[in-house]
């Protein structure tokens, strides 16, 4: 039987892996940005689950502060990346990074 903390740690690890796969495998830029966000959420989940100390004890506030900082920085990075993606589409006509195989 695994504890709540471990359950969420494993979920975070799985989210990270899922995001990494989608980031590498799929060509559309918007999907890649989405995948980056899912990866980030996975990392946050690992941090928050480490901070969790059981239902009776107060959780560790330091990882929480790190994650709040991380969430706001992630949305900024997303905004910048989306602007770059729109620009790439305007300049090349496609919002996909086509691989040789598909081209």
């Amino acid at each position: 039987m695994i504890g709540t903390s471990t359950l969420y740690t494993l979920a975070g690890v799985l989210l990270f892996g899922m995001g990494l796969y989608a980031l590498i495998a799929y060509p559309h830029l918007l999907r890649k940005i989405l995948a980056m966000n899912v990866m980030g959420t996975g990392v946050f989940m690992v941090l928050i689950s480490i901070a969790y100390q059981g239902p009776t004890q107060r959780a560790d506030p330091i990882p929480h502060a790190l994650v709040i900082t991380g969430i706001v920085v992630a949305v900024c990075a997303t905004g910048l990346a989306l602007t770059l993606a729109t620009r790439i589409q305007a300049l090349t006509g496609s919002a996909r990074l086509e691989t040789d195989e598909e081209a």
Partner: protein, 102 residues
């Protein structure tokens, strides 16, 4: 060792399925919608892990504003490619007319 609460197990399963679908569904609009739902479920997970501060930030920023950003970009991209498409069609039309004339 603590016993796993069934609520947590269910939440994690729904969350992972939602995330996976957001990453693999072909239609991007659907993917963004699923991502917003995913963000809200993650906020619920933060509450379960006794992190209400993070839950507030996630619900507002991670899910709401990121969703708005993604949706506006998606519609901007669609507008741009629609414009490009109609321009290319017009170009094809005009070259065809020139060909017919010449």
């Amino acid at each position: 060792m603590m016993v796993v609460v069934w609520f947590d197990v269910t939440l994690v399963i729904i969350l992972l399925v939602c995330g996976w679908l957001a990453l693999t569904t072909p239609n991007l609009l659907r993917a963004v919608m699923l991502f917003i739902a995913f963000g809200l479920l993650v906020a619920l997970a933060w509450v379960r892990l006794q992190a209400p501060d993070v839950a507030l930030a996630e619900a507002a920023v991670g899910s709401g504003l990121t969703g708005a950003l993604l949706l506006s970009t998606l519609s901007a991209m669609q507008r741009a490619s629609q414009k490009r498409r109609s321009r290319m069609e017009a170009m094809q039309q005009s070259t065809k007319e020139e060909y017919d004339a010449g």
